[in-house]
Symmetry: C2
Subunit: 377 residues, 2 copies
């Protein structure tokens, strides 16, 4: 049977887009990007690169009109334009109504609650002052409803003394839960309803800037917990009816309970290692899902790890990668640079995937890599 592959218009041209473009080369799928930064990581690799804001109605609408499928690599996009494109018969994946719900952490949490998915207790707040009404709810995390990204838009409130750290905009207060591990499951669904989950990964966050610093796959959890985490992710994407990949971040409590933290409707930082570590990468899987293709096998090829390369504190300017040659001499170590010209402290500049046979080997190599590679200027 012959069926043409669709052209794809992608909102955003950052590193997630870059890895998607790299995967799209295999099937010669033409992916074009809209991004406000003329030197975004995708600008040279996109089939067509349009400089413009993905938050602007006209920019998104005019861009989207040229493609069969419109997708995203960042969720903070103009939904109204996507809804209009959908009305005019374009395929928009993930679907605009799902993006609208996920964009707002308040609606997201409400969705989990309404459909019986386990998540930490929360109350909605309209402004900073509202925090005082929920003193008995503390310690908690105050989360901005809209616009949070990469660890921004989240503040821990231990007591009312921290109230001024909260956001003076609609948000929510989420009860701080004790947890043993943070897990993530990336799951994909295509239009035909086929669903496939990647093995759960275990994330280790950087204490200071709240970005995933290191993770490994598969997570060091029991088969039972693994199955529970996978089932939650599969049920969630099924309930949403989302087409594309969905990253589901979760907490594992000491009692063995799994709580959904939050979700991202796109390839995710917690899935970079799937490029080398799994039979299909999250990027290829997203393409398969939105292009109406069968999903690929998510099987792990062994143990893998992923280490983010952040701009070194104290360095701003033209990026240089110290220690790359030395790191490349270690078997199973695969740096991936995002092609960003300028570095600044804690900017995500790249990542390193590490392959091996045991978790211990992965951790040891990751420590080696950490001591070797520095993003300086």
């Amino acid at each position: 049977m012959y069926k043409a592959l669709p052209s794809i218009g992608l909102l955003g041209g950052g590193q997630l887009g870059r890895m998607l473009l790299q995967a799209a080369i295999d099937l010669d799928i033409k992916v074009s990007c809209l991004d406000p930064d003329a030197e975004a990581p995708c600008h040279e690799l996109a089939h067509f690169f349009k400089e413009g804001s993905f938050q602007d109605y006209d920019a998104v609408y005019q861009f989207g009109r040229h493609f069969d499928v419109i997708s995203i690599e960042i969720e903070h996009v103009n939904i109204e334009a996507l809804e209009q494109l959908e009305k005019e018969g374009k395929q928009v994946f993930p679907q605009p109504h799902i993006l609208r719900m996920i964009q707002d952490k308040r609606l997201q949490k409400q969705f989990f609650q309404d459909h019986g998915f386990p998540t930490a207790a929360f109350v909605l707040t309209e402004n900073q002052a509202d925090i005082a009404k929920h003193a008995d709810f503390l310690p908690a995390f105050h989360k901005l409803g809209k616009g949070g990204y990469d660890g921004k838009g989240v503040q821990r409130i231990d007591s009312l003394a921290d109230q001024t750290k909260g956001f003076n905009a609609p948000g929510l207060l989420e009860k701080a839960v004790g947890f043993e591990k943070e897990l993530a499951v990336i799951v994909a669904r295509n239009e035909q309803g086929q669903i496939s989950a990647f093995p759960a990964v275990e994330m280790v966050f950087h204490p200071e800037h709240n970005l995933v610093d290191f993770l490994f796959s598969p997570a060091a959890i029991s088969k039972e917990i693994e199955a529970k985490a996978e089932k939650i992710a599969v049920d969630l994407i099924d309930k949403m009816g989302l087409v594309g990949v969905l990253a589901v971040e979760m907490f594992l409590t000491p009692a063995g309970e799994i709580l959904i933290n939050e979700v991202a409707p796109r390839p995710h930082n917690s899935g970079h290692q799937t490029i080398r570590g799994n039979e299909t990468s999250q990027y290829e899987q997203h393409l398969r899902a939105i292009a109406g293709l069968p999903l690929g096998s998510t099987k792990a090829k062994g143990v893998s790890g992923m280490l983010n390369l952040l701009g070194e504190a104290g360095f701003s300017g033209l990026a240089k990668y110290e220690g790359l040659h030395e790191a490349l001499a270690i078997p199973g170590v695969y740096p991936f640079l995002y092609g960003k010209k300028m570095t600044k402290p804690f900017r995500k500049m790249g990542h390193v995937t590490i392959l091996g046979n045991t978790k211990e080997e992965i951790i040891e190599k990751s420590e080696q890599v950490k001591s070797l590679i520095r993003v300086i200027s």
Copy 2:
């Protein structure tokens, strides 16, 4: 230690270049291409794409001046320009004097002989008439000295009745040897002299058009033969002092002897499956070698196979890929399309990598894929 990665100018912008560009994204290595076809497979992905002939002195020289390292994806390039660039301090990998030798099958064979590498007996011929002087040497293959490519420039001469099939230009007559298998070993060497070989693959040629049709890795040979094949490839690249990858095609005779057939100083058709099947691909390895980086691990992740996708006989025009959706539903099946707009009979349009646990599984899946995918118009 900080050492900048070089910019690379590549002569040729075909499918081998395309896979090299895809690999170069990982380390954000900027690769630019020179190709006479404005719509060559690399034209959208290259950092800079220059339309021009890689056989023309001026085109090559003017192009090459802009980069730190000049490399090739096809060996039929203008050597004089590369020699001039080398004289002016550019790094040209593989080195021009090696390219000069490999470009001419007569010099190539002479090199094998002079340095004691096993190869089938041969005599030089200056024209078609010369074949008659070597009637006792038949059956043999008449090979054109320069310009042969992809199975062209080779003719089997069983007896003098076939003489007119021979080439009326400088060439050689190579004694037809009985062989059990055709093998290929891809080996790489960097400037520091580090050498690393990929596991030997076993090739199955299409009887009609003399192109590799299917191969699998590792070859079904004894450890002893495997070691012998690897040693020949390693010794050969070492003796040449070549920087980059070298594909060494070999015959395995019924007596267990290995004879070098011919070599290609670049990523090769017999190494496509390394992208998915090995810890480092031949493309990444070539980049590492020419960019002064440590070589990567060539370890196989299991058994892999590779099937060429050729334009279906009877179809010429805008290419369409029938059966792609169905093939993608088979686990471990990874089609790779070269992005060529037009198909014609037997044109190389793509390939399919197949991963599995046993040779039998690979062969079975390859038969399935063969019956599913057709490149039509």
